[in-house]
C-alpha cells in the first residue's frame, strides 16, 4: 500500500522560515501522516514563516483542510505566518466550500509567498 506520509515531499529553508512541498492527493489515508510530518517540522524549526507549496496537490478533502487549519492556529499562537501557494482548482474549490479562502494567506507563487 502507499506510504501514509507520501504527501510530504520535502522542505527547504528560507531566510525567515521554511517552505514545505506537499504532493499527491491529500485525503484521510494521507493526512494523518502529513500532519505528523508538518508538526515535527514546525517543532524543529519554529519558522516565523511557514510556506506550503500545494502545486503538486490535485485533490484535498476535509481531513487535509483540518491539518492546514491546525497549522494556521499553531502559527497564529506563535505569532508566526502560514502562507500557501500553488493551489489547483479542486483545492481552491474545497477552500471556498469550507469558507477558508479568505482566512488563509494565499500567494500566487513562491516569490509572493516569501513576501506575504
Amino acid at each position: 500500500m502507499a506510504k501514509s506520509d507520501a504527501s510530504f515531499a520535502g522542505s527547504q529553508d528560507l531566510p525567515d522560515g521554511v517552505v514545505a512541498t506537499l504532493a499527491g492527493e491529500i485525503d484521510y489515508s494521507r493526512s494523518p501522516g502529513l500532519r505528523n510530518k508538518l508538526l515535527e517540522l514546525v517543532a524543529a524549526k519554529k519558522p516565523a514563516r511557514l510556506v506550503l507549496d500545494l502545486s503538486g496537490v490535485p485533490y484535498m478533502d476535509s481531513s487535509g483542510v483540518a491539518t492546514l487549519v491546525e497549522l494556521f492556529q499553531a502559527q497564529r499562537r506563535a505569532n508566526a505566518k502560514l502562507v500557501l501557494f500553488g493551489l489547483q482548482p479542486k483545492v481552491k474549490g474545497i477552500f471556498e466550500i469550507a469558507r477558508l479562502n479568505t482566512v488563509f494567506s494565499i500567494a500566487p507563487d513562491l516569490e509572493g509567498a516569501k513576501k506575504a
Partner: protein
C-alpha cells in the same frame, strides 16, 4: 433501490486507501452520467467525505468492514439527476449527531457534513431497513441544482 439492482454498485472494505479507488470510480461515473468535470469533482468530494465519515465515525477505524456505494441516474421531481447511496453496517449510530457545524469559528474538523450538504441537492441519512446500519442518500441534479449556500 435495493442492493444489487443499481446501475453501478461498489462494495469496498473500510480501508482509507480505498477512498482513492472509490473516487476514481465516482469521477468517471459522474462524467458518463452527464456532469461536467468541475461538478463531477465536487460530487467526488462529497462521496469521499461521506465514506471517510463511515470509516472514522461509523467503524471507528476498523479496516475490514463493508461500505457500499450505489450510483444511479434518476429523475428528481422531473429533473434529470444522479443518486448516490452510501450504506454501511455500523451499529448504534446516533443519526441526530450527524450534522454540520457553523463555519464562523475557525477550527479543524467538522467540515465533512457541511461539504456534503453544500455539494448535493438532497441529503438524507436514515437507518437501514434491517436496522443494521446507516443509509445516506444523496441526489445531485444535472443542471440547475448548483451548490446551495446557507446551512440546511
Amino acid at each position: 433501490m435495493s442492493a444489487g439492482h443499481a446501475q453501478i454498485e461498489l462494495r469496498v472494505v473500510s480501508k482509507p486507501d480505498y477512498l482513492a479507488v472509490a473516487r476514481a470510480l465516482v469521477e468517471t461515473a459522474a462524467q458518463k452520467m452527464g456532469f461536467d468535470a468541475e461538478t463531477a469533482g465536487k460530487v467526488v468530494l462529497a462521496v469521499d467525505e461521506a465514506m471517510a465519515n463511515v470509516i472514522r465515525h461509523g467503524y471507528g477505524g476498523k479496516e475490514d468492514q463493508p461500505i457500499w456505494i450505489r450510483i444511479d441516474p434518476i429523475k428528481d421531481e422531473g429533473a434529470a439527476a444522479v443518486q448516490f447511496v452510501i450504506e454501511d453496517q455500523c451499529a448504534g449510530v446516533d443519526l441526530g449527531k450527524i450534522k454540520s457545524r457553523p463555519l464562523d469559528e475557525i477550527k479543524p474538523g467538522g467540515l465533512g457534513v457541511h461539504i456534503i450538504q453544500e455539494v448535493m441537492d438532497k441529503v438524507e441519512y436514515r437507518r437501514r431497513d434491517d436496522g443494521r446500519g446507516v443509509t445516506l442518500r444523496m441526489v445531485k441534479r444535472l443542471v440547475g441544482g448548483g451548490s446551495q449556500t446557507g446551512e440546511k
